[in-house]
Each structure stands twice: as C-alpha cells, then as structure tokens.
C-alpha cells in the first residue's frame, strides 16, 4: 500500500514538473527573438483567441513592430472567442507581471471596462485593438470600421441584385457588437432594394455554417446571395452551396484570411471584405510605445479595409503569406 502511495506521489510530481518545464521552455522560445534594448518595455497583449489565422496575422504585425522598437510582447488569449471572462483574467495577470502597456482586443467590450480602469489607475497605458471599448482613458482604438466595411461588401453586390430578392446573412455570435455592425452595415446599404434578409447565427464556426446554410437552402432555395460576417463561416457556407449544387449563388466573405483569399482566387467567393489585421497589430504596439514615450497618439486609428476580388487577389495572397511565414 505504501508502495502505491509513493508511486502516485512520484508520478504526480514528475508529470507536473514535466508540464511546467514544457511551458517554460515554450515561453522562452517566444521571447528570445525580440531584441533587448536599454529600456526594454514589456507589453502585454490579450486577443480574442490565438488560434485562428486572423489573430495570427495580427500577432505577426505586433511582433514586427516590437522587433523594430526593441520591446518585448507577450500574447495571451482564450481557446474560444466566447470566453470573454477569461480575457478579463488575462488582463489582470498581465498587470500582475508588471506589463508596461496593455493591448487588448475584447470580444465583449463592455465586460472589459472595469479591469481596464484598474490598469489606468496603475498608470498602465491601454491600447484598444480590433473592437472598440467604451473606456475614456484608452490611448487609442485601432481597428476596422466594421459598419463601413460591411457596406462596401453590400455595395459590391448591389448591381447583381434585383428588388425583392432574398439574401442570406450568416453571422457570428448573436450579441457580439462587431457582428452586429457588419450585419447592419450590409443590410443598410441594400435598404432601397427591399431585400428579404434571412439572418442566422453560426457562431463564427465553419461546421455550424455548413449546417445552417444547408437548412437555409432547403427552406429558401431561391436566395440570390449569401453574406457571411467572417471567412470561416463563408467557407462553411460554400461547402453547403457545393453540397446542394447551388454554387451560382453569390458569396461574399469577410476578413481576408488566407483560406478566404484562396476561395476568391478559385472563384468560389465573389468578393471578400479584407480587414487589415497586420496593421492593427503593428499600429497597436507602435501606439503603446508612443504612449510610453509620452508622444501624442491619435484617438482613433482606422486600419482600413480592401474589397478583394479576382482582380487583386494574387497580390493580397502574397502579402498575407509573407506575414504568416514570419511567425515562429
């Protein structure tokens, strides 16, 4: 009996130590590449998640800026974009490790306000990235004007639709502000056409989008176009169009991820409203640096969008691959 107990204890300690060794070495890899300078700042970044290409491109931008400026950046983000309370914890933990500035992309902006106020009372500058937070003391907000961007997507479709046509919108998590803005922008620009919109929530998930799109096609086979508020969902929607042999329906994506761009290249997607996550990441670190140096930073920085079609897709793909190849 004593043997068993001992074995368990040894096993426990070994595995815990092993796991921490693994974590720790991983962390060293992350930071060893950034150059040190005399006054090496450490910036804490919290993103909505770290495991999709969109956020990886944003990380690439932040990393490049950090290398140029000689600062250190540490990235945290929950496994799923819906886990917004974990993001609050991550901001607290960055503050605890003594981050010199915070860069935050909040998936539920309202939930983030009080912890950011804490950061402000500790005199830590806060840069808001990607989705705006109603927090007066932020250094700046850098991101896409989602409403305007979605309008561009809608405009592109304008001449292809007739009055009274049906259009499906596959959107991300109900209640998420940026998906609300994209949905609304798209609907507003087509207002005059008296379009019947079928709006469904696929929670930014590719597989859910397949099912939802199939269901829409079953109940409304006469839809003329589909707008997805993120590329993951647009790609899922395309699979459904293919399954139902309905690829003549126009598909508009949003984000400009590598997969999304490839879909434009292959003619699966008519157009893709590409955000500029690289710029968001890059400018976030630059703005945080400027704030630390006491320099003036504009209160709102538009990272810009580009509607990608067959004409300009090659160029964009080259650019994005360049960013991703730079990631470790």
């Amino acid at each position: 009996m004593k043997m068993i107990r001992k074995k368990i204890l040894v096993l426990t300690l070994c595995s815990v130590l092993f796991l921490f060794a693994a974590c720790n070495s991983g962390e060293k890899d992350n930071t060893s590449e950034t150059k040190k300078s005399d006054e090496s700042y450490k910036f804490g970044v919290v993103l909505m998640t770290l495991n999709s290409e969109y956020w990886k491109i944003q990380m690439a931008g932040a990393k490049d800026a950090a290398e140029e400026l000689g600062v250190e950046v540490s990235f945290l983000g929950p496994p799923e974009e819906t886990q917004f309370e974990q993001q609050v914890k991550m901001v607290e933990d960055h503050i605890a490790t003594g981050a010199d500035a915070l860069i935050v992309a909040a998936s539920q902006p309202d939930a983030m306000v009080s912890v950011l106020k804490n950061a402000h009372t500790k005199k830590i500058p806060v840069v808001i990235a990607d989705a705006d937070v109603n927090f007066d003391d932020k250094v700046t907000f850098i991101g896409t004007e989602n409403y305007d961007a979605a309008k561009l997507g809608g405009e592109y479709l304008d001449e292809l639709l007739n009055a009274g046509d049906k259009v499906a919108i596959i959107r991300g998590q109900s209640g998420s502000k940026l998906h609300d803005e994209r949905t609304k922008g798209f609907q507003d620009v087509l207002k005059d056409k008296n379009i019947e919109f079928i709006v469904q929530d696929a929670q930014s998930d590719r597989v859910k989008a397949v099912n939802i799109m199939e269901n829409i096609l079953t109940s409304n086979p006469d839809i003329k176009a589909v707008f997805a508020t993120s590329d993951e969902m647009a790609l899922g929607a395309y699979t459904a169009l293919e399954n139902k042999k309905a690829t003549d329906i126009h598909l508009i994506g949003f984000d400009g991820t590598p997969d999304g761009l490839q879909a434009v290249q292959e003619g699966k997607m008519l157009a893709n409203v590409a955000q500029n996550p690289y710029q968001i990441g890059y400018q976030s670190v630059q703005s945080a640096y400027k704030a630390k140096k006491g320099e003036e930073v504009e209160k709102r920085i538009d990272s810009g969008v580009l509607v990608i079609t067959k004409d300009n897709v090659e160029e964009e793909i080259k650019k994005v691959n360049g960013y991703l190849n730079n990631m470790p």
Partner: protein
C-alpha cells in the same frame, strides 16, 4: 502508528499537497506569482468557479451531475439585468430576482429528474442547459446588458482592504455548506443517496425531496456566481458562463469527490477550485498559450481521477 497517520494524511490532504506543490513550482518560475496583488487576483479569479463548484458538489455527491449551471448563471444575470437596468427597478430587487431565478431553474432540474423520472440528470440537465441558454438569448435579443448600479456590482467588484468581497463571500458560503453537509440530516441523506440510492430509499430517506433540494441549491449557487460575474464585468451577457459547468465539475473531481457518489468534501472542492485557478493564473504569468493551459488542466483531471481509482482499489483489498 506513525505510518498509519502519514497515510491518512496523504489520503485526506492529497489535493492540498498538490496545490502547495504547484504553488511552490510557480513561485520559483515566476517572481510575480507570490506578490500580494497576484494572490488577490487568484482569489478574485477563482470566486465564480468556487461558487459553481460548490453547487456542483451536491449533485455529484448523489452520483448525479448538473450540466446546466453555466446556462442558469446566464439566465439569472440576464433577468436581473432586465429587472434592474432595463426596467429600472431598485437594485435590491434585481439581486433577489437573480438568486430566485437561479433557484427556480434548479428546482426545474430537480422536478424533471424526480417527477418525470428522466433516467439520469446528465440528460435532463443537458436539455435544460440548452433551454436556459436559449432563454437568456431570447430575453435579451442576444445583446449584453450593461450599466448596473453599485449594489449589483458590489460583490464582484469591491474589496475590503486588499481582500475581494467575492472571496469573503466564497469563504462564508463554504462554511455554511460544510455545516449543512456534516451536521444536518439532509446533508447526511445526500451522502447516503450517493452511497446507495435504493438502500437510502428503503431506509426511509425522502430521496426525491432531497434530490430536489440538491438541484435547487446547485441552481442557486450558479446565480450567486452570476452576481459576482456581473460585478467583474459590469455586464450581463447571455453568452456568459459558456463551459463553466466543465470547470466546476473539474474542480469537484480534482478536489477528491467521486463520480460514483457519496465521496467528497466542501474543503476538497475549494482546493480543487484553487488548483484550477492557480494553474490558469500561473500559466498566464508565464505567458503560455491557452491551448497548453487546456492540456495541463485536462492532465490534472485525469491524474486526480487516477489517484481516486488507486485509492479505491486499495480500499477494496
């Protein structure tokens, strides 16, 4: 004699040693870990899961489970938001309504299990998990409610000196539950039902009534956790609490409770909660990605259950 007491100590305090060992390792790896600010962060960050896990302990003690706690949390805070923000009623009413909604949702779980005779709470609470989540989304039109008054935010936001109110609340509730489970007849019935439901029924224990109390309390605790979440995020989002049931179950199991029922303590659960919170916090301090955190927590769960299996095997010899 000495050997025996060492063994009992290990048996009883295994999770505690795990927590201390973990903290020791983290203190070495990260200089910020033991700072007062960070310890208070851990206290604050663990409080929601502490309340949900304490609620979860009861169904697990009866060899059941409550998968709906995350959704109950969401529907409770959303209704509280409607009452106290959208309809502008006094915050005290919002507070009471929040807890009442949680308790009623839990009561529904208990009634489904005992009156409809649904085979296992895994199924009934899986169902209500979806129903309550959907209700929360419909009630709010899927948008978060924000702009809560001071009283509603109080428990989640304020602290006395350095110590967060939320953690003080956790300690008080844990003491109450400890007394309830060890000193009251209902508490002893809960363990008895987990040990052997049929035997408990035959010996005259009002099994259905106890189970209804168990699930009602679990729902109530989810709503109490929701009150902390309101304060922490100053908002009530219908997607709040997604997957929280998993962290709560994990904490209860890591804390030494058995899925087979009848085994588990309030303090073990608290240790389980702290182990998860310390792991998350420590790995964040080290700047590790969340994917790795998920792996580590998963591994700790497997390890904790394995220890339980060994203990059981040894016990049956």
């Amino acid at each position: 004699m000495r050997k025996w007491s060492l063994k009992t100590a290990l048996n009883k305090f295994g999770p505690l040693f795990g927590l201390l060992g973990l903290s020791g390792i983290l203190a070495v790896l990260s200089p910020s870990f033991l700072q007062m600010d960070n310890l208070m962060n851990i206290a604050r960050q663990s409080s929601i899961n502490a309340l949900l896990a304490l609620g979860m302990l009861l169904p697990i003690l009866t060899a059941g489970i409550d998968l709906s706690v995350g959704s109950i949390l969401a529907v409770s805070i959303v209704v509280a938001g409607l009452v106290s923000v959208t309809w502008g009623m006094p915050p005290l009413i919002g507070l009471i309504v929040c807890l009442a909604v949680g308790a009623i949702a839990g009561l529904i779980n208990g009634l489904l299990l005992t009156k409809l005779r649904l085979p296992h709470p895994f199924i009934s609470t899986l169902g209500t998990m979806n129903v309550f989540r959907g209700l929360a989304l419909i009630l709010t039109g899927a948008s978060p409610i924000f702009g809560f008054s001071y009283l509603m935010n109080y428990a989640g936001q304020e602290s006395i000196g350095l110590i967060p109110i939320s953690f003080i609340l956790v300690l008080i509730v844990y003491v109450i539950f400890h007394i309830f489970l060890t000193r009251s007849s209902t508490g002893r019935y809960i363990y008895a039902i987990g040990g052997n439901k049929e035997a408990a029924r035959l010996s005259g224990i009002p099994v259905d009534r106890v189970l209804i109390i168990v699930y009602t309390l679990s729902g109530f605790m989810a709503a109490l956790g929701g009150l902390i979440l309101i304060g922490r995020t100053n908002s009530a989002s219908p997607i709040a609490g997604l997957t929280y049931e998993l962290d709560a179950i994990a904490a209860v199991i890591i804390g030494g409770a058995s899925f087979l029922g009848g085994v588990g303590t309030v303090w073990g659960t608290l240790i389980g909660v702290l182990i998860i919170a310390v792991l998350r916090n420590g790995l964040n301090l080290l700047g590790t990605t969340s994917d790795l955190q998920t792996i580590v927590i998963g591994a700790v769960i497997v390890l904790a259950v394995y220890v339980d299996v060994l203990r059981r095997k040894k016990g049956s010899k």
